[in-house]
Symmetry: C3
């Protein structure tokens, strides 16, 4: 597809500096806060009931990531989610570990049913679990390719009116009207924790500035995958890869996207 | 001013290894724990009500950073703060995101009114919000220069008897009797999350060993800014800058401080 | 001793990809999740009461690390611990800061008395505190060598039927039947926060695949120490050392272990 559009959205993220309100897990909080700054946004991590509505109200996107969920945090996510819906602020949901326990599957299903989610970003196992399409999740990792994952994504998109973005070797982005494949990325990205959560933050930053959420999600994942490719060239292991990945996101130029984004619009 | 004094305080931090009890936010906990070790102190991160008084009692400084606050954590901060006051252990407060929500403004104002704070370290927006002097905070970022921030700092220092340390392009350190400017630092420091929180930890380490809290704060910020300058020379992006910054803090020699600290005593 | 055995266990970790359920502290969660991946396992960090039993049931090892403990988290650790015991899933306990406050000493003693712990991994001060053998803990750091620490370890191992693994300049691993010394490692490992917690995760990964828990613990600490030695050669400070350490764990080859592990079986 037209990479100029992707480059243009990236430029808009940098210009508008969207504020991304994260209610997210303890493991990746530092990474996703830094990533938000590096791609051009402003992060805020906040979960207190007392400030949920007010904090959400000033955000340009709400990111719900129940990776280290408990009752209190889920409660705050619901308060924030309802406020975001009331104000038309888009929500990105990362259903970390859905399928691993009944509790995780239920919490994420409830979010999908009770909130209007702009984009659901997960791995194959998580999305398959939520779609009732099988898939195997060990802890928070998807451990095998899921047959028919594309049609599961399209069914989920239809059912909830949300963009469904599945990251993996090939990223799949489905909405009611469209289907994209993104072939940027590098296998090193699976060697560190948090790349899934980071890709969710990327989607949040792009959705905050572009109303075509499917296009925004595809653009976000192309940019992140491209940063992964650049980082892989200079890494000597997973930890130096992580440093290089964050640097590459910050140093990503629209021109690189023009030349190297690999997004296919199928529908 | 006399850089020998600053170098001497740094040497004292390394010799005395102050224990810094942090009750701090989830985003930066790893960074501030590491920074504490690198500058020469010992970190402990603890928040359980059951051990608050006992843990605070063995510390040389208490650092309160309600960046990811909630009711329970604020409660623990109050217990620790009262104990610190009772024992004469200095408290450094980092009012993360004050001004962004009413709850954050209130929690931090309550700390200032109910506890004896040795040093308040924030950005321009946060301090202006607490001083009722305007300032704009988006999430946890100060987004514009505040007119009259210097006099706001001096008024706050007068009102609460605390050192008020504002970090930015030029750091401003005000107390009832003194005013310092620190011109060390590098713009890269704004490209990662947590440099504000880290500067608070630096202030805590220096205040733990030097009774002139304004001088200690100025010295801490000069050392941290200097580490930032050194790190910026070798960084290829924000994430490699962060690694280099922490290395530079650990490798900072009194001699470098002697030559390169840029602190001006105005009063 | 025979390094081939150590290399073989490492190979088994990589082949079996054990799932390590961590209930751990906020400071190191990212490091220990990454380390789990790098050594060849799968991490999951989860603490909600609602999913504790189910999450523990799918794990190959449970890691309890009450470094930033509070009542709720201790409660979840107990639920998970009982489930692990019921199913024969080994538990590794890291008694962070035991000895620093009465609460920490009590919580960890309760775990040892109420749960069947496969391995207890701590520093000299923490183990000495739990053994009632003196030792000085400031915050979470052991600040001096403890006289008679070896016999304290052996007494603890006898009393609780657990492997007691003490990391330090020389690592000591004691069980009812055996005693190992490990002389791999580098002083740089003490310059960053979390190496203790990381060594606990290493022990967990090895215990998950090898029923001789003392041998598994010695092998784990030899591999981690060796990674520290490799990393120290290229680090310019503690933060670049941390990156290099995680890279070195991921890049560790059985062949390096064959040549360079320094484990002595004393009994």
């Amino acid at each position: 597809m037209n990479n100029a559009k992707i480059a243009e959205i990236l430029t808009r993220v940098r210009a508008q500096k969207p504020l991304l309100h994260h209610i997210t897990n303890f493991v990746v909080m530092n990474d996703t806060a830094n990533l938000t700054l590096h791609i051009g946004g402003l992060p805020v991590m906040a979960h207190a009931k007392e400030e949920m509505e007010e904090m959400t109200a000033i955000a340009n996107c709400l990111i719900l990531n129940p990776g280290t969920l408990d009752e209190e945090w889920v409660h705050s996510m619901n308060i924030a989610g309802k406020k975001a819906n009331a104000l038309g602020i888009p929500i990105v949901l990362d259903p970390v570990g859905a399928g691993a326990t009944k509790y995780r599957t239920k919490v994420n299903t409830d979010f999908l049913q009770n909130l209007r989610i702009a984009a659901l970003r997960g791995n194959q196992g998580e999305i398959a679990a939520l779609a009732g399409a099988g898939g195997k999740v060990r802890g928070v990792e998807s451990v095998e390719d899921v047959t028919g994952i594309e049609s599961a994504a399209m069914r989920m998109a239809e059912k909830y009116g949300a963009v469904v973005a599945i990251t993996g070797k090939r990223d799949i982005i489905a909405s009611r009207d469209s289907l994209y494949f993104v072939d940027n990325g590098h296998e090193r990205m699976a060697s560190i924790t948090g790349t899934g959560c980071m890709s969710t933050t990327m989607v949040g930053a792009f959705i905050a500035v572009e109303k075509d959420f499917a296009l925004a999600s595809a653009a976000a994942l192309a940019c992140f995958g491209l940063a992964g490719e650049i980082a892989a060239r200079q890494a000597e292991g997973p930890a130096s890869f992580r440093v290089a990945l964050l640097d590459a996101v910050a140093n990503l130029e629209p021109e690189m996207v023009l030349r190297n984004a690999r997004v296919t619009k199928m529908k």
